[in-house]
Subunit: 341 residues, 5 copies
């Protein structure tokens, strides 16, 4: 489930964000603890090797290697590349969210423009809105792993009531190498045109409005598909990943507390700590920043913080059927309001 926490920090009171540090679901700890343990294990191994197994001469050489690694790590401008990269990923992430098609506009227009309380009027409205929902299910199946798990085959889509067996046959008879989410949209337009001919839609303008709303809906389906098809160029992601990983590999070696320090320049600030606090902090910081990107680069996965696509599909289907059918011309009585005259 999406992690909504802003209500908890509605006021900027004392240490507002500190409360957020004690959460587990969707937290940096949950995302990062495995990498963290691995990093610690590797660090400890190296540390023990150094302290117990190396000869004095080997230690001296190691110390040189460590210094070299340390200086190397400083030459990688991690914060720059992470700042720009994460900004890019976050912008895409939000655009993807706003591209999830919602039938609300469409259902308002259908409810107002497609008339008839009889059986065939109901059928018409329900079928129109069902087609719209079907299109979004089809595109979300190809985009979201959660939705694909729920609807592994077209049979599941039929079983869930988004499609009839007849429609499925027709749908599958059309061959295309690409996603066929546009098929229900074309059905929609044809059905709307037919409704206009039959007088269920009473005027040309209403038809025009419905088609325009459908186009907006379809455009959002298309955007979702495009965001899925065209990833952030692999090279960029690789550059960032290599930068972060090599930084930590260098840190692993370079941040050991080596003895030779003491000998050559017994600086007063030398301190042999067994736990490299700073390095762990840096790990949390940089690896966490990268995790932001890892989590958001595909917000249709099954991370704690990914979009609740299945709930959204259910909500959309339920709400849209409700509003074009049960609520059609089913108005509360209009009465004078409190401030009447």
């Amino acid at each position: 489930m999406t992690v909504s926490y802003t209500l908890k920090v509605a006021e900027a009171r004392f240490g507002a964000f500190s409360g957020l540090l004690f959460r587990w679901r969707g937290s940096i700890y949950k995302l990062l603890y495995r990498e963290f343990l691995l990093f610690c294990a590797l660090y400890a191994t190296l540390n023990i090797t150094y302290r117990l197994l190396l000869t004095q001469e080997q230690k001296r050489i190691y110390a040189q290697v460590a210094r070299y690694c340390n200086r190397s790590a400083d030459l990688i401008p991690l914060s720059f590349v992470l700042g720009f990269y994460v900004t890019l990923v976050v912008n895409r992430w939000w655009s993807q969210y706003t591209s999830i098609p919602l039938p609300d506009q469409l259902m308002c227009v259908i409810s107002a423009s497609v008339h008839g309380v009889d059986q065939s009027g109901r059928l018409l409205r329900r079928t129109l809105i069902r087609y719209a929902n079907l299109a979004s299910v089809l595109v979300l199946r190809s985009v979201s792993t959660r939705v694909l798990k729920r609807f592994p085959t077209m049979e599941h889509v039929v079983d869930a009531g988004f499609m009839s067996q007849e429609e499925r046959k027709k749908f599958e008879s059309l061959k295309s190498d690409f996603n066929k989410y546009w098929v229900p949209c074309v059905w929609f337009t044809n059905l709307a045109a037919q409704a206009r001919r039959d007088g269920r839609i009473r005027d040309d303008i209403a038809l025009c409005l419905i088609l325009e709303e459908l186009n907006k809906y379809r455009a959002k389906c298309g955007m979702l598909f495009h965001y899925d098809w065209i990833s952030i160029p692999l090279v960029y992601t690789q550059v960032v990943t290599i930068a972060v990983y090599s930084f930590f590999t260098l840190s692993l070696i370079g941040r050991q507390f080596v003895e030779s320090d003491k000998e050559s320049s017994p600086a007063p600030w030398y301190l042999d700590m067994f736990v490299p606090l700073t390095t762990l902090l840096q790990f949390f910081f940089y690896a966490g920043w990268l995790k932001v990107a890892e989590q958001l680069i595909n917000p249709f996965g099954e991370d704690d913080d990914d979009f609740e696509t299945n709930q959204l599909i259910d909500r959309n289907f339920q709400v849209s059927l409700l509003s074009v059918d049960d609520m059609y011309q089913n108005l509360p009585p209009t009465e004078q309001d409190l401030y009447w005259d």
Copy 2:
């Protein structure tokens, strides 16, 4: 209340922004003084402990720890991550503000297109605009803590005149797991369609225009809901918070004026100040920058600088009723203007 101060700095005269430093409402001082006092208290405690309680040997060790912390603090690129993060938060904040639905467009269109000076004409126009206002109240209740305090139950919404008892029953009979702000919108469209049938709306184009404006209005309600549901990913906020907090924890330890400095390298620039001015300045700077994010991440709370949602609701209701009812066909006489030929 929102803090508007730009009028005070309309001219870029001598030290224009300096005047802004002496404000309390919505200021950094008000937001930060508790954290600041805590920080000072901790610093003082540590300082006293160091000076009075530690032995010479302990002091020497402490000095090493302090140096280590000091260098560690420098390795966290706070300004980078804060710069990018705060930019993200500020952009979301402004988008949220512009998503607050305003009925102005809708009321102009209704006033121009829904006709009849008689009782039922008035009732129709008032009911339509009331539904629109109701939708925004419903969504703001779920988003803004201020509005929820004002309308803790649906009963309060009814009492405030946004809803009749009949409507409330109908509204509550509809079951949905999600926010039901769309219900009044569907009522609106149905009522508008009915008005078209009754000839109160005289042509199809006017109906179409009303539906389009309603859709824009509803889209804004939807955006508010989405901004509330989908927070900035928790990981990002945690990364930033951990970075800032650990920076100050390290500063707390590392910025003490330790004696061993003097001994080992009696540098001429050593200075034992009891008040760590720089560190406090840095605290103000970085913690203040984080406070910007804390305050804006949920602009619907009760901070000094959060949006005045309750006033806006009142303004919208008052203004929209006024313009569709009292002002309907109530025009000042048209006369020749000053520059008439």
Copy 3:
């Protein structure tokens, strides 16, 4: 008056921008010279005190304080916070400019759709466009100090011909705590609806088009009002201001050329300059950058570079009356063009 200089740098010829350094109106010198003089005066005072009044022992202590300040100043990442803050301010500044409502679209539509060359046709078109202009004057009065100076009371608005006495009475009889710029918009829609009934507007689509354009116009008025009401959060501005001011306070103390340098480490690079060139340069640079923000944060003030709101109001009123009245159906004869063949 707005300072337009791009024509001067249309070509990227030799030292193109250098020419811009010798301007006074709207320049950094004009905006900054007072702060600059103050800074120099304080620096000189401190310098003289140090050289003439302090004992050798005091000088030694001062040298330590200076060093401490110097290192402190380096810890404030001014360029980061200024970069992000000024970018935010500049974006808002341009959005505010593009939000200034222009009647050009509206006047074209009115000129094409509201018919009649007789007295009442003229009156109708002039009144409609006058209402639109009135709305923008009302909102600009509350936003721009220049416009408020020109129209301190509603009486002045009436005197300038934007409003008749009758309209003013009606306007003032409506009570609202918020800006009432929407009132003329509602009048506009009602008058347009009446014109449609009277057949002055010949078809529903033309009315619809006029209402849509009015809504766009009103939306811009609304945006201006919102930009004025919701400032950039005070905290952000304060953080930036405190950062810049404390940087310069620290520089003032720390950048003095203190003697003790020479004694302890008579570095060959020591240089006793009486004028702290670097510091002054930094002052110009950082304080100038902040001045960009100070000037743009409210572009409706009376700075050299602020928007020419009064001229715009005049231009809009003149142009829009011209085009709906004098130019109505007053076309140059259509003749065959040069390439007719």
Copy 4:
């Protein structure tokens, strides 16, 4: 083929991005290995020359040159200029992708509004949508090297069925120095107008809707053309390229492990490594970052990660013909859905 990899990183599980490092297609390795080998070869040559051929005196001079180069390399703020430049390029890249015209909206509208199941109705619909596809082929030919390879002459466009011989003659009889992608759009509008006259399009609003959708389609074609015509200013690209190239030239010389180090200051941290690990890492990092820009600056080339323009053209043509012809009024039977009553 475009490299879509986000599905592989849908979950932010353990070391999510690490899996991306072992890909070849579209990877940084494939893009960079030639430059990398060249860099290594040059480095090795220089290294061997230094170790084997230089006299002791020459080595001493070389050491000075190396130090000078090393310090020089640090003075170029590569990460800044790369960060801003790559952000610009990535934004343009995505805008270009979203500018690729898709006929989906148009085909829905044509299918709903252009009537007749007879021969001439089919012909009309097919011709309209073919014109739209033709326009996009014409513009993509001038933009994409892949598409130009597929359609080197207009004859190829005719052979592929996008154009008839008659149309080609007419098209070629029109002279213009600029791309003529707008010609099929004008044909489209004229044909649509004719269809309206013939009653194939039954009402004015449908025609208006078709024209509006065509205009959106044409606008996208135009944007593609503009993005191709107006490159990112050459100067900017040159500045970035010079910066990166000179950085590596300086590194080549400066990062050699020179002996004189040892002599003058036999620091304990000196380490004679034959492989300059850090420098190679930096090379990967900075050159890889530049490669992101190189790959995206023209996304219509034949890189692994460039857009699949030819597949898109095929998909669009196939899908649009299908939906305006085969699917026209070819609806699955409407039946009651699963949740009826």
Copy 5:
């Protein structure tokens, strides 16, 4: 002429951008060589003065000044301010390009909606589109130095066929302090309204569509005018320019290879080079970055890379006349396409 080079770098092959370094037109070399020569000349003068004319004592002082300058130069965060400033300029540059009005949409709509193959039908369509072109010429004259050179007086506009003598008289009889590009737009709307009355435009919706397209066209003209009127605030440009210029002034003095280095600390890394390679590189880098801004701040000048406004005007006029006149109802015969079966 605009410099389009992306086709040359369509593939990210070996050293893709390196090819761009050997171009002259629009290159950094062409833009920068004069400044570069000046910089070298000044550097050489100073160098010779130092080596030949100064006494030993003067050299010692100079060395101190140089060190001071060197450290000062490092305190100016050039890359920050340039990064943010150039990003701002580049965004404005592209927005300005997309604001250039193109008549393509308008000509499609006119061709489809304004009927009649007779003389007066042709005249009507040609006149309408000519008015649109005239508006863009009028606004481009005030914006682009190239266009102003081509049309120094209104007489030239008449001679070029954009305006008749009658129209010019009418145009000049209207007085306004601001640009009058809106006048032909008002003529356009009046002429369109008249065409509707005469039945040349057959329905209200077509008229509405034409007016909407005209409004979009006019809005772009307006944006061009605004971008010209409201420059980036002078202060910002001055801050950046002062920063760059003072950086190079300081470099000029500070980067001389002074002898006293050697004496006081005969570091092994000292190197007396007569050509300050690094400094020249930095000059190329920073001054080149500034040149990007200089070139783009007014893209309507006569730089190599500025927009080809005159060609665009010609193209627009030619294409739009062609499509509303010659191509009107001049369709290729519709035949069955290749995939008909």
